[in-house]
């Protein structure tokens, strides 16, 4: 009996040791995850840790994470955090502050683009995450059409201004209208000025944010007062509804980014406002009819900020190992190699690094994109905010509700949630 007990104890102890040697991470099934995977053997060589990455689709992540975060000891040593969840996770106290670790190992937090650091790095001066990759939205446009002299002449004729990479929102609106046409003369448009993704939920919120910013609107002011019924915001929503109903492919009311991107890669649209990390796909001649013909620029007025960060949950079984991994994966060398593989960079120096630029000529043009991006409202009820406001925006974009009315309803829903979160009276 006693011997059995000792045996079991020994086994448990061994399992404990074995566990300590393996770090588990929950990640999303995206290229950036693959890039990390390809480098793991080097981490093992350097530290002796095995790393086990569980990659699942975005829609399952939040549901899978929460129980592990609530538990005293969870299944994951390291997690990646979407900016959506930052307020929720930090407010619930699920993330471990990283400042001590960073100080101890001399990590220069200033290496990150400040806006990214503000989004998935620090909250109220405390560092909870190191930024992993950004998904700032940019404006992808058809370079070949802009450079076509015939188009240029026709545009000038119609609007009295030059056709070029849009610098102002108004210019972009004219271009959306200009390029929307019926090329085969069957009475239905078949080439579109842009492609919107107006599906209810986060698809519409992500993209329509750019229309809000383009018009100079903002979600809230410095005191968290909601600004969704301001003239700029109403105009932004009206512009988005117009774009969806007039200048985008039919059905855009139900598109998310995959369907929208497909229209662009089929060569059926002049432009798309989308995540900058999709640019490579759109510009790839092997997979896209628009391959080699597109450029990317910042959305006039600033695109939507989006990013992921590395975090250590308080429920992490091995916090030291977790930090060792984050410190390694975010070290300049490894970050650079990931950047060369296509990672959407978060460290300022990488955008102009010679090797990175050699591999990705568009890299320098991505830096202002990130630097000028505008943050999305992040508070405890961000997910519900996306739901409620997204519904109103979608009603407007599908022509079921007047933009002004929808904006008022969105304003009210936003205010309710801010109140519930104690951010306003």
């Amino acid at each position: 009996m006693k011997r059995l007990l000792i045996g079991v104890l020994a086994l448990v102890a061994m399992m404990g040791v074995a566990r300590a040697e393996t770090l588990r991470i929950l990640m999303e099934t995206v290229p950036d995850t693959e890039q990390v995977k390809s480098l793991l053997s080097e981490f093992k060589a350097a530290t002796g840790y095995d790393v086990e990455i569980e990659a699942i689709s975005y829609i399952d992540m939040h549901t899978k994470l929460v129980p592990q975060l609530i538990a005293p000891t969870g299944a994951y040593d390291i997690i990646i955090v979407d900016f959506y969840w930052v307020a929720e996770f930090t407010k619930a106290g699920w993330l471990l502050p990283l400042d001590e670790f960073a100080q101890r190992d001399g990590v220069d937090l200033g290496r990150y683009v400040p806006k990214v650091m503000a989004t998935t790095g620090q909250v109220d001066g405390v560092t909870y995450m190191l930024p992993f990759y950004n998904y700032v939205m940019g404006l992808v446009y058809r370079k070949d059409l802009l450079e076509d002299p015939a188009e240029q002449a026709a545009f000038k004729e119609k609007y009295g201004i030059e056709l070029g990479v849009p610098k102002t929102w108004d210019e972009f609106k004219k271009q959306m209208e200009f390029f929307t046409r019926d090329t085969d003369g069957d009475g239905q448009n078949d080439f579109f000025g842009t492609v919107t993704q107006a599906q209810r939920g986060d698809c519409i919120m992500m993209q329509s944010s750019n229309f809000l910013y383009g018009n100079g609107g903002r979600y809230y002011d410095e005191n968290w007062n909601p600004l969704l019924n301001t003239p700029e915001a109403v105009q932004g929503l009206a512009d988005f509804a117009d774009a969806t109903l007039k200048y985008s492919a039919p059905g855009s009311e139900g598109f998310c980014f995959d369907e929208a991107t497909a229209v662009m890669t089929q060569g059926k649209a002049y432009s798309i406002i989308t995540f900058n990390n999709l640019y490579a796909t759109i510009n790839n001649p092997e997979t896209s009819a628009a391959g080699g013909k597109v450029g990317i620029t910042g959305v006039p007025g600033g695109g939507l900020m989006g990013s992921w960060g590395w975090g250590i949950p308080k429920s992490s079984p091995n916090k030291d190992g977790a930090w060792a991994f984050i410190n390694w994966v975010e070290s300049f060398d490894i970050a650079k190699r990931r950047a060369i593989m296509g990672n959407a960079m978060t460290q300022t120096a990488l955008f102009t690094d010679v090797d990175v630029v050699a591999a990705r000529p568009e890299a320098p043009s991505l830096e202002p994109l990130v630097a000028e991006a505008n943050a999305f409202p992040v508070f405890t009820y961000t997910v519900e905010f996306v739901e409620a406001v997204g519904r109103e925006f979608n009603l407007a974009a599908s022509g079921q509700k007047d933009p002004k009315e929808a904006a008022e309803a969105a304003q009210e829903a936003f205010a309710d949630l801010l109140r519930k979160d104690g951010l306003i009276e």
């Binding site: 039919p250 009311e253 739901e387 979608n394």
Partner: protein, 293 residues
Amino acid sequence: MAAGALARRDQRFGLLLTAPGLAALLLVVLFPLGFAVFTSLFDYTLVHPNHDTFVGFDKYVEAWNADYLPDALWTTVKFVVASVVIEFVIGFSVALALNRVTRFKNVYYIILLAPLLMNPVVVAQLWRMILHSELGIMNYVLGMIGIGKINFLGDPVAAFWTVVLVDIWHQVSFMAILLLAGLAALPREPYEAARMDGASAVQTFVHITLPLMRPVIAVALLLRLIFAIKTFDIVFIMTKGGPGTATDLISYFIYRSAFFGLDVGRASAMSVALLLIVLALTIYLYRYMKSLA
């Protein structure tokens, strides 16, 4: 007297035999249910996951007053009626046709079962691709045969019917197979008697098949009804309830309350309310069917 005692002893013995099963059932079914009811009386959120704040029926009032709840309820009613009725008609027709088939029965079964075995998320994603308004094959084919493109997921009315039809595509075989099993189990003799009595095909269907199938039909309708009320994945993947609120089904509505609104208390209140509605509906239908039989 002795017989009575014996019967009582038998009863007690039977109870003893079924006790473990009953206990397991209670644990598995009633515990979560009880937990949901309990939670619905508290301000239990994912941010503060505890039962510290008792709020009585506040969450129910809150749930009732939730924005767009009437839309979701109405959409759900329309969806359930449309999908169950159409599935029943198609499913019964298919079952009747297949019941006559003697050759390659297994092949038909496999074809029938295929959609049913597919993960709903995959089904929804597949259809999203097929129904892409610009690039999907459906509109390509419709364009070729001159019907013109349909804005399947963008137009509110079209989107509702698209969701209904995709659900039918996915679930109709359940109905068909259940009804087919029922048909296959029907006694052959009354049909021969009816032929001798001079019944036409239609008369046979009305006077023999339908009445004999009534219990199976009741079960099939009831099951599908309950499943239809719980429909979630298709909407979640295909439309997120949009455009606007055109496809906002109650299950998705509740899901959002819990996981987007982080308000488990309110979501529990809604679930409990929904459960009571479904239960009432089930009992009513069951009674009704029984009264017919």
